[in-house]
Structures are given as C-alpha cells and as structure tokens.
C-alpha cells in the first residue's frame, strides 16, 4: 500500500494547531455571514436558528407543563393552551428537529467528512437557509396574529373551520419544505460526486450514510406535505372540497396525505441521530465499528420501510380494517433494522478502550432512552393495544422518548463531540457531565409518568383532566423544570467556552479518524489546503493516525489531480 501511495505522490499533511486563519475570521461583517456560500458558516447560522427555536419551543413546553399543574385552570385558558401546544409541536417539529442535525451539523460536517471544500451547490445551500428563514417568518407572523389551535397535524375538518391563523402557518411549513428538499438534493449530489479520492462507499463515515438516507426521504416525502398543505389552503380559501365532507371531501384522506409525509419525517428526525451515535461510540471506544454495513444499510432500510407504514397513525381513524392490519404488520419491520443498530453499537464497545467523555455519555443515554422509545413503538404497533393507547399520553411519552431522548440527546452528543472542531474551543468537561446527568434525570421524570398516565387512559391535548391524574401530571411538571435547569447549564458553559481565551481545542481532541478531524480547529476557510486521499475505513483505530492525514498537493480544489488518482479499489 505504501508503494501505491508513493507512486501517486501521496504524502502526509500535518494539521495546523491553533490556526491564525480559519473560516471564522476569513471574512468579517454581517454580509460575510448572510451572503456566505461557506457550508460551515451556513451550518452555524442554522445552528443558531434552531437553538433559538428550540428555546422558543422549550419555553412553550414549560408553559404547558405548568398549566397542567392543576386539573382545571392554572394560569391560562383553554384557547391559549390549545394555541401553545400547537405552537410547541409545530416549532419543535418544523423549525427545530427536522433541520436540527442535517441542516446544522450535516451542513458543517458532510463536506469535511468527504474531504470536499464545500457541498456540490454552495449557492443552493445558502438559498435553503434563506428559504428556511422566510418560512420561519411566516410562522412568527401567525404567532403574532393569534396563533393556530389545530395541533401541529392540522387535521381537517377542524383546521378548515377554526378561526385561527392556519393559512400563514401552513404556508410557512410549505415554504420550509423547499429548504428541506434543496438541502436533501445538495447532500445526495455531494455524497455521489465530491468524495475524496479513495473514499469508496465502504469508507464513508456512518454519519454520511445516515445523512444520505435522510436526504432521500427529504426529497421524496416533502413534496407530498407541500401538496397536502396547498390542498388544505385551497379548501380554506376557495372552498375546494377535498377533505371537508360538507363539500364532498374526505377528512381521512387528509390524514393519509399528512402521514405519508409525516411518518417518513419521523425518520428525517431520527436517522441523522443514528449517524452521530455511530461516530461517537466508535471514537470513544477507540474501536472499529461493529457491523459497518449493517448499520449503513439499515439506515436505508429504515428510510424505505418508513414510506410504507404511515397508516399506523390511523388505526382507529376509520380507515379499512385490511389497511390497518397491513400497516401494523409492516410497522414491526422498522423495529428490526433499528434493533440491529442498537446491538451493533453495544457490540462496538466490547473490548474497546472506553473514554467516558461527555459525547459518549450522551450517546449511551441515547441507547437507553431510544430503546425505550423503540419498545413502546412496538407496543403502539400492536393492533389491539394501540386501540387502547392511541391518542393518549402513552403516545406523547413514546414520541418524546424517540424525538427528545433519541434525537435531542444524539444532537447533544454531536454538539459536544464537534464543538471543539466548530469553535476551536473546549467546554468545561465537569459541567458538561453534570448537565448530562441533570438532563437525563429531568427527561425521565418528565416522560416516564406520561407512559403510566397514557396506559390509564389520559387523553392527549387535554387542557383539563380528571383528578385521578394529578399526581402524575405534577411529577411530570417537576421533571420539566429539571430539564429546563439542565439546558440552562448547557447554555452557560457553552457560551463561556466561546469567550474564554485559555481553552483552545486541539485539532483532534478525541483521537478520531474521520476526515473532519484532519483539518485544523476551527477548520480552514476551504477545509483542507490539499486534496485529501482516503486509504482506510474511518473507524480503523488500529491504523496509525498519520495514515489518515494523507493527501495530494494542489490548490485544494483537486482540478489537476483528479484524473490520476485511482485508489478506489484499495483493500484496506
């Protein structure tokens, strides 16, 4: 292998520590951010936006939990409560969690992990961000104009008859969908066309595989949401009878359309999280990932099966019994690839060298919480049990275990994993660990009682409830305060790390092997000042790290070297 490398003039490129020039100071001024085509800056702008919306959604959640302290009114009326839970759901789903990992961390790291200078279409990438912002403005407009009280699902005929700002809200979601589609297309093309010489599909980091699977779902499913929301808007404004039975429509058709997008969207939310977990567990176990291909392909399998199970949201909706049975049967098949992933991650730790740093703690918490989310998903897929549990707090607890215990904890793992790379600064490890434990406790205290309430029959989206449920509701509310405190701690030590001078991060603080760690911290303006060449699997911790910093001299754009590099058949 060394001989091959010599023939092609491949050499090791040392990484610059504490770089003077990097992407953050390459250009300055507001314009250099708003009109940047640098995927890293766009990633950071997404990151700032989603953190803002996570904060908004979180405050709304705290308000909901507080209102549920008393069985009847605590401090807001029913209409306000209905608007608040709708906004909490819509903000968290459309403004936070869907763009969270792909658009923020994905944008930043996908090109770097491929050894590329940027995504395939940098300007399209900037356009995605603008479209997202424009859509978000519509959402803010609808909040200012009385909000929406339909639930984030906008079910008809309620959504066509309520007097609230449904049109501006759905238009906002419609617009943001294009941002999602464009990001998806950009990622697919980038993965196909911009991989470093030698980086075959079998040498892709698993985070890339997960983003690739996600991008496919984004491109295929989002247009259906767009069509659905347009039909809804047409029905509201023009009286076209698609969903309203009074006009000859069918309200259950809306649910089919909506979940045809929104179920795959669940995988848009969780599959990128799988990618982070693969990176983190392998790095902090300092060990080759176990079952690389199974983890990689199970993401694609989940993406595919995810398109065939939307009807499991509708077991009691009045859809045909035959459809219900088929959807239940198919639903269980999502469980298999998901279970395979979890067990492969656990197996990766076997005989590893486990360094219990903050990202690893979050990843292990993810394994525990997401497993509970998965098992309760099996519960909800079981037909006769679903009839009892559907639309109760059991479902609320289930999807929070998946979306928050899963995606948000993985997102936290990713943030802590890549923070030194993105910012060039190290956070306080002690406080990071404290916060992770606080969040873990807070999360379980908030959502475990909701499983019990749901099993007992407490329906979701209830402003008031019967007194039997008060103790459990109050426990859950107390948990939400603990969660709030946890996030405040995270916010504080991350902010401090940005402004502190003494805590400069090295280029590769975790000893990882993937390409993004072979750039400086923070990365250079164009990521690499050479063309990286990949010889090994990104999880080959048994190979010396110097063999992961190889490259070919050049402008870094690879024009003159592209043709002569033929390493893709490497057998490492």
């Amino acid at each position: 292998m060394a001989a091959t490398a010599k023939d092609l003039n491949i050499r090791e490129f040392p990484v610059e520590e504490n770089p003077k020039h990097h992407y953050l100071n390459a250009e300055t001024g507001l314009k250099s951010w708003l009109f940047t085509v640098d995927h890293k800056r766009i990633g950071l702008m997404y990151l700032a936006s989603i953190i803002l919306f996570f904060f908004v959604g979180g405050v709304l959640a705290l308000a909901l939990r507080l209102e549920l302290w008393e069985p009847a009114r605590t401090f807001m009326d029913a209409d306000t409560y209905n608007r608040v839970f709708t906004l909490h759901g819509a903000v968290m789903v459309f403004l936070f969690i869907i763009p969270s990992i792909p658009a923020a961390l994905g944008n930043f790291f996908l090109p770097m992990m491929l050894g590329a200078k940027d995504v395939a279409f940098p300007k399209l990438n900037l356009l995605s961000f603008w479209i997202y912002s424009f859509g978000a403005l519509f959402t803010l407009y609808s909040i200012a104009h009385g909000g929406v009280d339909t639930g984030w699902t906008f079910y008809t005929p309620y959504s066509t008859s309520t007097g609230t700002a449904v049109i501006s809200m759905t238009l906002g979601v419609f617009i943001m969908g294009f941002s999602s589609i464009l990001t998806g297309i950009n990622f697919i093309v980038t993965v196909h066309k911009m991989r470093a010489p030698g980086q075959t599909w079998g040498k892709l980091p698993l985070f890339i595989w997960s983003l690739y699977a996600t991008a496919i779902i984004q491109v295929l499913a989002t247009p259906v949401l767009a069509i659905t929301l347009l039909l809804l808007i047409m029905e509201r404004t023009l009286g076209v009878g698609i969903f309203d039975p009074a006009l000859g429509g069918d309200p259950v058709l809306y649910q089919h359309f909506f979940w045809f997008y929104s179920h795959p969207a669940v995988y848009i939310m969780i599959v990128p999280a799988f990618g982070i977990i693969s990176e983190v567990i392998s790095t902090f176990s300092k060990k080759t990932i176990f079952g690389y291909w199974l983890i990689a392909l199970s993401s694609l399998a989940i993406a595919f099966i995810g398109f065939l199970v939307w009807g499991h949201h509708m077991f009691v909706s009045g859809q045909s019994e035959l459809a219900t049975v088929i959807f239940s049967f198919l639903t269980f098949f999502v469980g298999i690839p998901t279970g395979i992933k979890i067990l492969n991650w656990v197996a990766t730790m076997y005989k590893g060298s486990i360094d219990m740093k903050t990202p690893m703690i979050y990843a292990l918490m993810f394994l525990f919480l997401f497993s509970i989310g998965g098992f309760t998903g099996i519960m909800l897929g079981a037909l006769s049990v679903n009839v009892h549990l559907h639309d109760t707090y059991y479902v609320v607890a289930h999807f929070h275990y998946v979306m928050m215990g899963g995606t948000v904890f993985a997102f936290l793992a990713g943030i802590h994993y890549w923070w030194p790379k993105m910012t060039g600064k190290m956070y306080n490890e002690f406080w990071a660990k404290v916060a992770s434990v606080v969040l873990f406790i807070g999360f379980n205290v908030t959502f475990l009682p909701q499983f019990i309430m749901g099993s007992q029959g407490m329906p979701r989206r209830y402003y008031s409830y019967i007194e039997q449920f008060q103790t459990l509701h109050q426990t859950s509310t107390v948990g939400s305060w603990v969660l709030g405190v946890g996030f405040i701690i995270v916010g504080i030590y991350l902010t401090i790390s940005l402004f502190s001078k003494a805590n400069k991060a090295s280029s590769n603080p975790w000893g990882a092997r993937a390409l993004e760690w072979m750039s400086s911290s923070p990365p250079a303006h164009h990521n690499f000042n050479y063309t990286p060449v990949v010889l090994h699997n990104p999880y080959d911790f048994h190979k010396p790290i110097s063999e992961f910093r190889l490259g070919i001299d050049g402008s870094g754009h690879g024009e003159e070297t592209e043709s002569k590099v033929e390493l893709s058949s490497d057998k490492a």
Binding site: G339, V346, I354, M379, S384, V385, V387, D391, Y462
Partner: protein, 314 residues
Amino acid sequence: MLETINRLILPQVSSTFAADVDGLFTFINVASAIILLGITVAIIYFSIKYRRKSEDDVTPVIRYNTTLELTWTIVPFILILIVFGWGFRGYIDMRTPPSNAYEIYVTANSFFWQFTYPNGVQTTDELYVPAGRPVKLIMQSRDVIHSFFVPDFRVKQDVLPGRYTMAWFQTLGTGEHIIFCTEYCGTGHSQMDAMVYAIEPEEFDAWLREQRELSEQELPLAVLGRNLYQQQGCAGCHSLDGSPGIGPTFQGLYMNERQFTNGTTRIADAEYLRESIVNPAALINVGYNNIMPSYAHLSDDQVAALIEFIKEIE
C-alpha cells in the same frame, strides 16, 4: 406481581376485550424489559470493564460476527410475529360485533355526545347499556372529528362527519365508566367527557320504557326546556350556577345587560335569547369565542321551552 403492576398502570377490566389487551400489554412490557435490561447491563459492564486505561490502548479489530447478527435479527423477528399475531386477533374481535348486538346511534358534537336508542329515546353525555350484553355503537359526528374512548373497555374509535364508524363492546358486569373524546376538537375538547352506565338488562328495559313515557308526556315549557338543556348539550358550555364555562352561564342571564365584542350592549330579553340559539354568531359576548353551532333545527316550541327554562335560572 405482574397483576399488581397492571392494576396500578391500567384502568379496570370492564369489557370482554380488556383482559386480552392487558395480556399483550404485559407480554410486550416483560419482553422489552428483559431486552432493555440486557442492553443496559452490557453498556454498564463494558463501560467499566473496558474503560480507557491509557491513551495508547490498542483495541482488537472486530468488524462483524454473522452468528451474532443473525441472532439479533431472527429473535426479534420471532417476537414481533408473536406481537403482531396477538394484536391482530384482538383487533379482529374488536371489529366484529356479534349479530345480536344491541344497537345505539351516537352523535358527536362540539363538545357533547348524544345517544339515540332504537325506541327513539335520546340522552346526552349519558350512555345507558344493558350489562353483559353486546352493544354496538353506530357513530357519526355533526361537525369535526371526535373520538369515542372508554378506557375501562379498551375501546376507541374516531367519529367522523359525513359517514358512520362503528365500535362495540360487552361489559363484564354493571358499573359506571368514563367516556373521553380522544381526537382534538377545539376549545372544549378536554371537557367532552361522558359516562357509560352499565345496568342490569331488566333495569335497562325499564329505564328505556320510562324515558319513552317521559318524553311523551305533556310537560310544562320550563321542564321541557330543562330536558332540552341536557339533551342538546347546552350543559357542556353553559353552567346554571354562575361558574365560568366555554359559554356564558345561564344564571341570572335573563334581562341582564350583555356586552358584545362589536362594542354594543343589549338586554338579554326573549328575542335576544331566541337569536342566540338559532344564530349564535350574530352577537358574541365579550370574553367568549364564536364557536357555538346554530340550533336552528329546534322547533319553535323547543326554543320557547329553552327560553322559559333560562328565565327561571336566577
């Protein structure tokens, strides 16, 4: 012990479906708990046993193990087939009412339930059923989607506008059970509860006859109005004791000066009350929303009866 836990986290077992649903619920919980425990123990054990001892630790290269991968594909596969089959069987029971089931028509409204019995008797928010006999509900919504849920029965079915949906159950004995609306339907969604009263079949027949006779009697207008107040669901939003609800209370309403969202005021005389019943959107009281459906389908006598009833609530 499992039984004790189930009693803590599940509602009472009151229909023929409940035991089977609870059995599957328990099976999934136990199987999940065992696997989750295994995963958790493995994570903790590995974290301690294989903790990093030095920065130069060398780890073995283990890329794949076919036996392991097959095991954790096939074992879950078998488990999910069991879960699917068990859930399927229970679901088919829930969707197959016996042909001798007693049929009751259900109309869901924002935010109350109306039940119509074969002999024409109508009740609101109170569903009387013969205990131990199969009962089939033929349901329809008058406005948006609602969902009929009785936790004690493990029965739930969405109720749609413009078409019938069906649910059925057979109680295990007499008793009272709460009904929830479980499809979000607006302001009063969480107050859209009702009760099932399962009574002895003979008692049920007697009750049905009694209700029938009651509705045939010539009643004074105010008494008829009180019945309508219950039957038509007015009680869901308008209290009689001054307590705040989704709509204004009826207490002291008659001849009271009302303030409206368009800035005008008016004395709540009979004409105002009539208009508020048949065309509630015309004037909206300050502090309330325009959500009341029109009751223009009531007869003139019925409207008059309601007004006479409201007059008496001082």
